[in-house]
Symmetry: C2
């Protein structure tokens, strides 16, 4: 965005989503209960953006007639697409990068997400995905005894030791999330999105995971080496915290609440097409957990009712870009819907790689994607200027 | 709608708007305070309709793939248009009859509305609009004395007598609203929309208002005859109630609240281009009144932010029909915006005449309008069936 804004002589505006960062409508009480959280919805966020754009247009000299384009990645990409759908009078188009707008209801199979993660590991080193697939049983074996739990806690350098076999689930979930996150940030150069990491981090991680046939303890020592690369690439971590998989600044709290209300994304694993322990999509369990945590229940199909699911062909001027390495592409739009609802696929791209700054290490595919995106954005701007 | 549904083999569904009729989310407490009224918004109503349509499609045999068209008149017409704009995945098109979607902000002059009312009276009888224009001063003169107030109360057969000069404003507002309502229901045949009335009721009313140069008392006796036709065409009213201008079933309470939050429609008179006492549009007075009544303040430009004002060309498949006799056409779309945002003007039509049942007394212009509307609706249905 920084590079392209310069070319287009554009102003970049980063709108902070309500309930994230410093945009807390009730200050410290914003997350205190469901009453205070009631205003945390994607619809309200979009309305904020509409009012913000209008405010900027009327207060910034020269901005009044400037066409505006919504740009976002991930949830921000969904918001960008939905913003164009719901407020086409405010933005002339949207670039929705790695936006899984179809990861809802039964629009896509729930297992594709994790099979993409698995493919990333499979392609990044011999024995890699098999090592991870075998690690779950190794943990299950060891966590059945106190000595094994102790060994796991020591081996993984955990900040708080595992105490019960149930704690082993926490460890496994944390490991799963780590593999998912690595798939999301599998960028072609050193980067620092969720964590500081080397180029192609899955390849680095897989260097520790070459032999899936090792004994439980040797296998898990290698798994530790692998995750330690993710959590401790800088060497600054004195222990690993299984309650944390990314930097705190992403605002997990807000997202967890949204996942408990609107953002219900069915995901599942079968251990066959993916390297994870089999786990069915369990809406009822989610619903119970949400009720326990926030006193709310998720609405399974609300996002479809609100934003149209796959029936969106009457909209226009949205680019959906997706990375082939990115598990979120499972719920993304990867084929053109109409002439002006365009899919851009970046086979070598991870999560919204196209939105990152230009790099000499960028694969050709992301360079081409950006060129296409810029071309379409210029068209929208041109058309808007003419119609004005 | 009844006639056309038959032709198209369609199901008619009348969705009741929340907070109107029996659709009271908090029962008797729904209007008790702003906390309970907080869910009365057009956005929430549209979301209700989306969920309703989906529910009907999944529960009614054979309905699953039926294309749906939103139809409404007046506020319902605005909702129909906005429904297509915001939920194009739910309805293939909308017929927005007499929908003043531009009677907001500064999109149209605030005085046009009342000048259309005035024209209706001017065209319906010699001396008619002048008699009404002269009546205000007559009331002002008489209401300055107790005897005059008594005379006014008796002459207008008021249920509760006027007591102070301020009460004269209530009388004048009530008369103004009566003239406006007559303009809205100036239908070519006997009808019973706001009140039971004869064909072309303004012509009937104007038969009493031929001489604008009469003395105050004689003029006002004629004005009484005129409004008595509106309120007492059946002869059943024993007195006239200045707190009431239409049947109660319209749900005035809900509308008053909405007019105090989202539905802020600037209106004004100058006494020159219209037959009313000059009154500037006074947002601050409205705001104070709204705060006093409901504890809320209106948001002047929210409807524009939400629904796009005049910048709606990216939408499709909406018919905006307007009657030339209807004051609400002042804020309506009376010229095509694009090939699929189509304006239909009915010069001899009052408020959403086109939505009424066919009548042998229908003017040619409404017959043509309906033919055009049916043609376009068939096109939408055809296209939807093909794309499915």
């Amino acid at each position: 965005m920084w590079d392209v804004a310069e070319d287009l002589n554009a102003m970049l505006v980063f709108a902070e989503h309500r309930y994230y960062g410093e945009s807390l409508p009730f200050g410290n009480e914003s997350f205190s209960d469901s009453k205070h959280l009631n205003y945390l919805t994607s619809e309200q966020a979009l309305a904020d953006f509409a009012v913000l754009v209008e405010y900027l247009k009327t207060t910034i000299a020269g901005a009044k007639h400037s066409p505006v384009i919504a740009i976002g990645g991930s949830y921000g990409g969904m918001l960008a697409a939905w913003f164009r759908m719901k407020y086409p009078h405010v933005v002339v188009g949207a670039l929705a990068a790695s936006a899984p707008i179809w990861q809802f209801g039964d629009l896509v199979p729930c297992g594709t997400f994790f099979s993409i993660v698995t493919n990333d590991f499979k392609k990044s080193g011999k024995g890699c995905s098999e090592s991870i697939r075998n690690s779950w049983n190794a943990i299950n074996h060891l966590s059945s005894t106190d000595a094994g739990l102790q060994w796991l806690s020591n081996t993984f350098h955990l900040c708080s030791p595992l105490k019960t076999p149930q704690d082993a689930s926490v460890l496994k979930n944390w490991l799963s999330e780590t593999w998912v996150n690595l798939a999301m940030v599998n960028y072609p150069y050193k980067a620092d999105f969720l964590q500081p990491l080397p180029a192609w981090p899955i390849q680095e991680v897989c260097k520790f995971l070459k032999d899936p046939s090792l004994s439980d303890k040797l296998l898990l020592q290698n798994v530790f080496q692998a995750v330690n690369l993710y959590y401790n690439y800088t060497g600054e971590a004195s222990c690993l915290d299984v309650s944390q998989t990314a930097t705190k600044s992403l605002g997990e709290m807000g997202w967890y609440y949204q996942a408990c209300t609107e953002m219900v994304m069915p995901l599942c694993t079968d251990g066959v097409h993916d390297m994870f322990e089999p786990q069915k999509w369990d809406f009822d369990a989610l619903s119970e957990e949400c009720y326990r945590m926030w006193g709310v229940r998720p609405r399974l199909s609300w996002i479809l009712s609100m934003y149209g699911g796959k029936n969106i062909s009457s909209h226009s001027n949205i680019i959906f870009s997706n990375g082939g390495l990115d598990p979120w592409s499972a719920g993304g739009v990867t084929q053109n819907i109409t002439d002006s609802l365009v899919a851009v696929v970046i086979p070598d791209g991870a999560h919204h790689l196209d939105l990152r700054s230009r790099s000499p290490l960028d694969p050709k595919s992301v360079q081409q994607a950006r060129a296409m995106e810029i071309c379409l954005m210029k068209e929208w701007i041109e058309k808007a200027r003419h119609s004005h």
